[in-house]
């Protein structure tokens, strides 16, 4: 059987800048990757198949929404802990890290930041354990680096909206239970303010950094 002999390298003693909790988290995730990811991942990559059995473990090591508060099922950890978890997962495989990145930053983060209380309660705890998996739809077949040109849109229809369009290159899409989808409403689709307000100008980028 494949044995993962990985040893960590820390040439500048960066470890001294970390807390005991950071190092404990790193150890936990590394051990899990060595036990549950490294022995199987090459085989799954060769078969071009996602190893669904790792979802439960990803939830248990806290890889889903580590910085989301505990009241919503997250771990309430800091950003360095999140980074360390991503580093250890990608040490095993970028695809495994991608699954956790999407779930944490592209599904749980927007629901936590922009969602209503009902939405947070409904989705976040299940997303944190992996009982529910999510994906994020922004990129479209003809709109990659320039998402402002997206054509996916919603139309008001009383108590619901009608969504049309398509998204491409979406990690986790084939098995996700929910998709966080970005689409234009009628005002954004036909109004000029969209262009004026939302080009990726410096002011906007600074706003985002300070606005969460």
């Amino acid at each position: 059987m494949y044995v993962d002999k990985f040893q960590f390298h820390d040439y500048y003693l960066v470890d001294e800048l970390l807390t005991e909790e950071h190092k404990l988290i790193r150890e936990t995730v590394r051990n899990w990757v060595k036990k549950d990811v490294s022995p199987i991942i090459e085989d799954y990559a060769q078969k071009s198949e996602f190893p669904h059995q790792i979802i439960k473990g990803l939830g248990e090591v806290g890889a889903f929404g580590p910085y989301i508060p505990t009241e919503y099922g997250g771990s309430g950890l800091d950003q360095i802990s999140y980074g360390i978890i991503m580093m250890e997962l990608e040490r095993g495989d970028s695809g495994v890290r991608s699954t956790a990145s999407v779930q944490s930053s592209l599904v749980m983060y927007p629901i936590y930041t922009w969602g209503t209380e009902e939405q947070k309660k409904k989705y976040l705890p299940k997303l944190a354990t992996g009982e529910m998996m999510g994906c994020f739809g922004l990129t479209e077949p003809n709109h990659g680096s320039d998402p402002s040109g997206m054509i996916s849109h919603i139309k008001d229809a009383g108590d619901h909206v009608i969504l049309n369009g398509s998204k491409m290159w979406i990690s986790n899409a084939p098995f996700a239970d929910i998709a966080v989808v970005w689409a234009k409403d009628e005002r954004e689709r036909f109004g000029e303010w969209w262009l004026k307000e939302d080009m990726m100008d410096l002011q906007l980028l600074k706003l985002i950094a300070n606005g969460r």
Partner: protein, 199 residues
């Protein structure tokens, strides 16, 4: 939020990838999908929403790439001490030492960069442009290390007995998704000049 099972919502899988093969990728197709208004985010307008999500994900990727780089470096370092050619471990040859020395130098720089970025992020002071710089630098660093590490392993580097080629192919996606290598450079360019090169 669109839930699986809504009428008109399908998620066809993308096949024939040479990268992220152990990860499932697909399309989202919406054909007159009825979405309850309770599923909408009440207050997000424009690109602020998706860009703030990407900001958080890219920060994580800047750390993740170090993991892939460390795994490739660790594999190549061990191999260079075990593999004997011309009566000596290949790690004793100058060209192999150059590769290994440059790898650990770049990994060390990336570790310090992300640690500092993490401190700024904890204080809610990390700017999107700083995150772009770290994502771009670290993913490119990891991809270059994967390629050099593959060379140290010679033919063995192309097999599934080692993780290097899998990391290398994965990183070809990572250097493109969540903002391409080129666009992140233009964000740094815009940040330092105050002039956008893409609008």
């Amino acid at each position: 939020m669109v839930e699986r099972g809504y009428d008109g919502f399908t998620t066809p899988e993308t096949h024939s990838k040479w990268s992220l093969r152990a990860s499932a990728t697909g399309e989202l197709v919406f054909n007159n999908v009825k979405v309850p208004k309770t599923n909408l985010f009440p207050d997000v307008r424009g690109l602020k929403g998706p860009l703030s999500c990407l900001n958080s994900a890219r920060y994580g990727i800047s750390w993740g790439a170090i993991g892939a780089a460390l795994d490739c470096y660790d594999t190549a370092l061990r191999y260079s001490k075990e593999r004997i050619q011309f009566g000596k471990p290949i790690g004793s040859f100058q060209l192999q030492q150059k590769k290994l020395a440059e790898m650990i130098t770049e990994i060390t720089k990336a570790q310090l960069l992300t640690w500092r970025l993490g401190v700024l992020k904890n204080e809610n002071r990390a700017t999107p442009a700083q995150i772009s710089m770290a994502k771009r630098n670290n993913v490119n660093m990891a991809l270059q290390i994967a390629r050099e590490a593959r060379q140290i392993l010679g033919a063995m580097g192309i097999t599934g007995d080692y993780s290097i080629m899998r990391h290398m192919m994965n990183l070809e996606s990572v250097i493109t998704y969540e903002g391409t290598h080129d666009v992140h450079l233009l964000i740094t360019g815009m940040d330092v000049t105050g002039i956008s090169a893409f609008s």
